[in-house]
């Protein structure tokens, strides 16, 4: 069969419209899923109510590190509404007390020997209602023998540090791994020749994705059929199904994982949590469906955190600011279990893309990961497998260099950015950037910002502040930049797998006889608008109206296998799968059209969803007409099956590399340390924009995330290892009051290897914005070094030249 070319991405105003007014392909359209969300008709895990359903609740450790001496559950069991109390001892008999993590470690489902973080799961109560379940938790008596806790990661490898993982045979310290990337010798050589070397210590503190919907599950083990159905908050339903099969030894064809509407994920819902397993065990033990929904504090204290990277960077440059090399040492705090969710061959995620958007030949990083008495996690919160940390590192280092050289940070960046003609570009640490025009994006951001004018305003404000009798309350103005390169769409299966499962995605497209379509995806939306975007992708290729294309996802019994939605991979991987499936439909429709019109396939031309005879446009058939013919009685050519379906597994040849230039303007109250973000300019290049409104929504959210991380979000721990961020009173998320009216711009550089050129945008702004805000605050203070978050106190202390560590309790 001949293959036609994928259509080029049109500009959205030339796209024809469907009868409902939607674009037949790319362009602005309202989200199909919002019809139910704005009516309050979404259906989340907590909305699942089954007959006879019981409720589970988890007893959690109040210590960060303690030996479990005894657990007395008798009083809880005597509670009239309690159906079962499960402890680690009971799980041991089922061989379920421990489960594998996504990083080759194990984690406790319920503590048996010790508790290793504040909030760890200790016992599980199943009761008739959630009130009784929680009441019964108070009836469980646990005797602990407290142990000293490892709280400060920088002391985790001290010789006298308590050993956290004495469950692992032969452990004599808290090290998880040493890992490196890049060419150390080449890097040393470049440093030896440098005029300037700037070193900086940076903490990217522990933060939490904090989705609006917390994690939970309803498990129903049907004793008669032997089938387990689990409704659960998962970004990766198929991966979860396979893991349940592997962990619990359940037959995979008897497991159905359903991920209904999901109220935000951001990486928080990639992993499998003890609560999910406990709901399953609870259902097996009681024979009834069991619901477990965590509360807000449980979510913040025990589920996947993000970041917690202690970085030391050294940047080498010539005296006029040409970067020569970058060297990085990282101490990675992984918590009590190594539960990082990332491709197997990448223990530090994609951190070694830290050379960023700049042209220099040498780089080297060494990452040491350690256990501490904190919750596990590490890759979450829209981080693109730690590209967040990488971008923060390089964008702070470039600013430190500019600070020392007294150069304008925009000019310094412009001098070092990769040139368009260098693409595809092989980075010194082995990443092949697919396409880009970086200077154009930076120029565009500077144009929107009015960069020169901003710098002039800043200079005149600084001059005024230096006058005698100047107003001591006059705000300090700061301008911060960041330029980021992302790498998303994991990934090529020969390099990338999770627990041995290659990261290729399946997709099935079925055109019904009347020309209405169903698209089955393995990825699962958590608010990104898949039901709209994927319909538009198919519409773009075969011209059916998006409203006639139903997207089906989130149910393993009804969708093909694939690894799920995180790392901005849905559009780069499953989006490609959908485009290729649609392309196959189009190609098959052509053959059917040739048969129906009694001509050769080579005589057919395509326009607006219709094959027609070249030279006689009246002789043609639309995709809908061809769907009916495909299901009808027309004799089809030899070898052509009936119906109009396609099934694809897409294995991406490379990652896609979105990029962008961000500029932030802040005003800081010099007396109180309060930071006000005055403006934020974001120029993103994610290739062609399928639905510009959805893309902008993703960027808006990510920018708010960035302001949150830069100004307020952090989970610190006190000396005893108590989590100090266990509620929204303590863990602050930004509101509209902290966000300026975003100023967005774009450039469009298609990916050369993606079927429709798109690059993914889900995490760009979260990755790219924190350093812009931090650089702006430090520019306002005219200070080189301090760590986020810039709460008023942190900012004031930075201004005083006495910055504080963000990861420890303020004492």
């Amino acid at each position: 069969m001949t293959t036609t070319d994928m259509p080029a991405a049109p500009s959205s105003d030339t796209v024809p419209r469907s009868p409902a007014g939607n674009p037949l392909g790319f362009g602005h359209m309202l989200r199909k899923e919002d019809a139910r969300f704005v009516r309050g008709q979404g259906h989340y895990v907590d909305d699942v109510r089954l007959p006879g359903m019981l409720h589970g609740a988890i007893l959690r450790s109040s210590y960060a590190h303690a030996r479990v001496v005894s657990i007395d559950t008798s009083a809880a069991e005597a509670h009239p509404k309690v159906k079962a109390v499960i402890t680690g001892k009971i799980l041991e008999t089922l061989n379920l007390a421990w489960m594998p993590t996504l990083s080759g470690d194990v984690t406790a489902v319920l503590a048996t020997d010790k508790v290793r973080f504040h909030g760890q799961e200790v016992a599980f109560v199943v009761a008739e209602d959630e009130y009784s379940a929680r009441d019964a938790l108070e009836l469980i008596e646990v005797e602990y023998e407290p142990l000293p806790a490892v709280v400060d990661a920088t002391h985790a490898l001290d010789p006298d540090a308590p050993i956290i993982r004495d469950d692992l045979e032969g452990r004599t310290d808290n090290k998880i791994y040493d890992w490196e990337a890049g060419d150390e010798a080449a890097c040393d050589e470049a440093f030896a020749k440098a005029d300037v070397v700037v070193a900086e210590d940076l903490v990217y503190p522990r933060v939490h994705p904090a989705p609006m919907e917390t994690c939970g599950a309803v498990a129903h083990m049907d004793k008669v059929t032997g089938k387990l159905t689990i409704w659960t908050t998962t970004q990766a339903p198929h991966a979860h199904r396979t893991v349940y099969a592997l962990v619990a030894g359940l037959p995979e064809h008897k497991i159905q994982v359903i991920s209904p509407d999901i109220g935000g994920g951001f990486g928080n819902k990639v992993g499998i949590y003890p609560g999910y397993v406990l709901a399953i065990v609870g259902s097996i033990v009681t024979g009834a469906p069991v619901k477990w929904m965590e509360d807000r504090s449980e979510n913040l204290m025990s589920t996947s955190f993000a970041r917690d990277y202690h970085m030391h960077g050294e940047i080498a440059a010539t005296k006029d600011g040409k970067i020569l090399a970058l060297r990085v040492r990282v101490l990675a705090d992984h918590g009590a279990f190594n539960g990082v969710a990332q491709p197997t061959k990448f223990p530090a995620g994609f951190f070694h893309i830290f050379t960023g958007s700049y042209d220099y030949p040498a780089a080297h990083c060494k990452v040491t990961a350690v256990y501490t008495n904190k919750a596990l996690g590490g890759v979450a919160y829209a981080c693109s497998f730690r590209i967040t940390e990488a971008v923060y590192l390089v964008e702070r280092m470039v600013n430190c260099l500019a600070f020392e050289l007294k150069q304008d940070p925009a000019e310094l960046r412009m001098k070092n950015l990769l040139r368009p003609e260098q693409f595809p570009y092989m980075s010194p640490t082995g990443w092949e950037y697919d396409s880009g025009d970086y200077p154009r994006a930076l120029r565009e951001a500077m144009r929107i910002a009015g960069y020169e004018e901003l710098r002039r305003e800043q200079a005149s404000r600084r001059a005024a502040a230096a006058q005698p009798g100047a107003d001591p309350t006059a705000p300090l103005m700061g301008i911060g930049l960041s330029f980021f390169t992302e790498g998303v769409g994991a990934g090529p299966r020969k390099h990338m797998d999770i627990l041995g499962l290659g990261m290729a995605d399946g997709c099935e497209l079925r055109i019904h006889p009347t020309g209405k379509a169903q698209l089955r995806l393995s990825v699962q939306t958590q608010g990104q608008g898949h039901e709209t975007t994927f319909a538009q992708i198919v519409s773009h290729v075969i011209g059916l109206p998006p409203e006639d294309i139903e997207v089906i996802h989130g149910d393993t019994d009804n969708t093909p296998f694939g690894l799920g939605t995180y790392g901005s991979r849905s559009t780069p991987v499953s989006g490609a799968a959908a485009a290729v499936a649609a392309q196959r439909i189009k190609d098959k429709a052509r053959v059917i059209a040739a048969a129906a019109l009694e001509c050769s396939v080579d005589d057919l031309e395509w326009e607006h969803g219709r094959w027609f005879v070249r030279g006689d446009p009246t002789q043609g058939k639309t995709i809908a007409e061809l769907a009916m013919i495909a299901h009808g009685s027309l004799e089809l050519p030899e070898g052509v099956e009936g119906h109009l379906d396609a099934s694809v597994v897409y294995n991406p040849p490379n990652l896609t590399y979105p990029f962008g230039a961000y500029i932030c303007v802040v005003d800081v109250d010099p007396q109180t340390g309060q930071v006000k973000v005055r403006r934020f300019i974001a120029v993103d290049d994610c290739g062609p924009r399928i639905n510009p409104m959805i893309v902008e929504g993703q960027i808006h959210g990510g920018l708010a995330d960035g302001i949150g991380m830069a100004l307020m979000e952090v989970i610190a721990f006190d000396r005893d290892g108590n989590n100090l961020g266990g509620s929204f009173m303590d863990y602050l998320l930004p509101t509209s009051m902290e966000c300026p009216s975003w100023e967005l711009g774009q450039t469009v550089t298609p990916s050369p290897h993606h079927p429709i050129g798109v690059k993914g945008v889900g995490e760009s702004a979260t990755v790219g914005s924190p350093p812009a805000v931090v650089n702006a605050v430090l520019d306002a203070l005219q200070v080189r070094s301090a760590d986020m978050p810039f709460t008023p106190a942190m900012t004031w202390r930075a201004l005083e030249g006495r910055p504080m560590r963000p990861d420890l309790a303020i004492e």
């Binding site: 959630e130 009130y131 929680r134 009441d135 108070e138 929904m293 509360d295 807000r296 504090s297 309350t473 007396q671 109180t672 340390g673 309060q674 100004l711 307020m712 952090v714 610190a716 100090l724 009173m729 303590d730 602050l732 998320l733 930004p734 509101t735 009051m737 902290e738 709460t791 008023p792 106190a793 004031w796 202390r797 504080m804 309790a809 303020i810 004492e811």
Partner: protein, 291 residues
């Protein structure tokens, strides 16, 4: 879902009934007004009253009015009622300025003046406002009504003079001519509790400070105020130096503790900054120079 421990629920139709219900349960009952402090504590199981006496039906306690030479605020007045009160806006700008930065509209639509004071949270903004204005609380019990100076109302964090079977029915503030007032708060984010906050009123006679009140919250100031700083100003001429000195005293005399909102040195510094700003703006308002 966070759920409270089991409790009984009673709805009071009058102040007398509320008092009777409280008396009947001994010390195990709690009034619930807006519930924005009590219910979170119950859900976290930090509070576990056996009975809740709901006083949301007592709409006769929801008012702001001039009564003689005082302003009377009913205990069930919601934050939003204080925020939007024309009477308070005319006499004391400090109220609207404080209310604007208390929590968010959801909380302000339910939370009450009485609940705020009786919660006695060491970071409550209205406690600083009433301390600054030297108001008094009117408290009723089965045996009658008493009135307590708000600077003697709080016995410590989460502790007040209100007895088990008593209810605060009203708060009163003297009306003062030639007076300006202001509130200054620093929070980490909109809707957050104060890192520190300060409020003030200044009453002028010509260029002399006739009377002054300073309130502070979240910084461990005894009775949410600093009389030494007030004394340093009262009777003296208005000057930036005098204001700075009073502000410095407040920073020194308060007793903040370090937490994730900030270290002690910052909080002391911040108190001085905010007290100075509140006093300066109060003076400008008293002179009619500023809105």
């Amino acid at each position: 879902m966070q759920v409270p421990a089991p409790f009984e629920y009673q709805r009071a139709g009058s102040v007398d009934e509320a008092i009777a219900l409280l008396a009947r349960s001994g010390g195990d009952a709690r009034l619930v007004a807006g519930g924005h402090s009590l219910l979170p504590m119950m859900k976290l199981r930090l509070a576990r009253p056996e009975t809740l006496v709901d006083i949301n039906g007592l709409s006769d306690l929801e008012y702001v009015k001039v009564d003689g030479d005082e302003i009377a605020i009913g205990a069930m007045t919601r934050h939003v009622g204080v925020l939007e009160s024309a009477v308070l806006a005319e006499h004391y700008r400090i109220f609207a300025e404080a209310e604007r930065v208390i929590a968010d509209p959801l909380v302000r639509n339910r939370g009450t003046v009485g609940g705020s004071l009786c919660q006695a949270d060491p970071s409550e903004d209205l406690s600083a406002v009433f301390a600054a204005l030297k108001g008094r609380a009117v408290i009723r019990s089965a045996s009658g009504t008493r009135s307590v100076d708000l600077r003697a109302f709080h016995l410590g964090p989460y502790e007040t003079v209100v007895g088990d079977a008593e209810i605060v029915v009203e708060v009163r503030v003297p009306i003062r001519p030639h007076t300006g007032s202001a509130y200054e708060k620093v929070e980490r984010r909109a809707g957050d509790w104060s890192v520190a906050a300060a409020g003030a009123f200044v009453q002028l006679r010509g260029d002399t400070i006739d009377d002054v009140g300073i309130g502070m919250t979240a910084v461990g100031a005894a009775h949410f105020t600093c009389e030494e700083a007030e004394d340093s100003l009262r009777g003296g001429p208005v000057s930036p130096e005098a204001i700075d000195e009073a502000a410095r005293i407040c920073g020194q005399r308060c007793n903040p503790s370090a937490d994730q909102r900030g270290p002690v040195d910052y909080k002391r510094h911040l108190v001085s900054v905010l007290v100075a700003r509140a006093l300066t703006r109060s003076v400008a308002r008293a002179r009619g120079e500023a809105a």
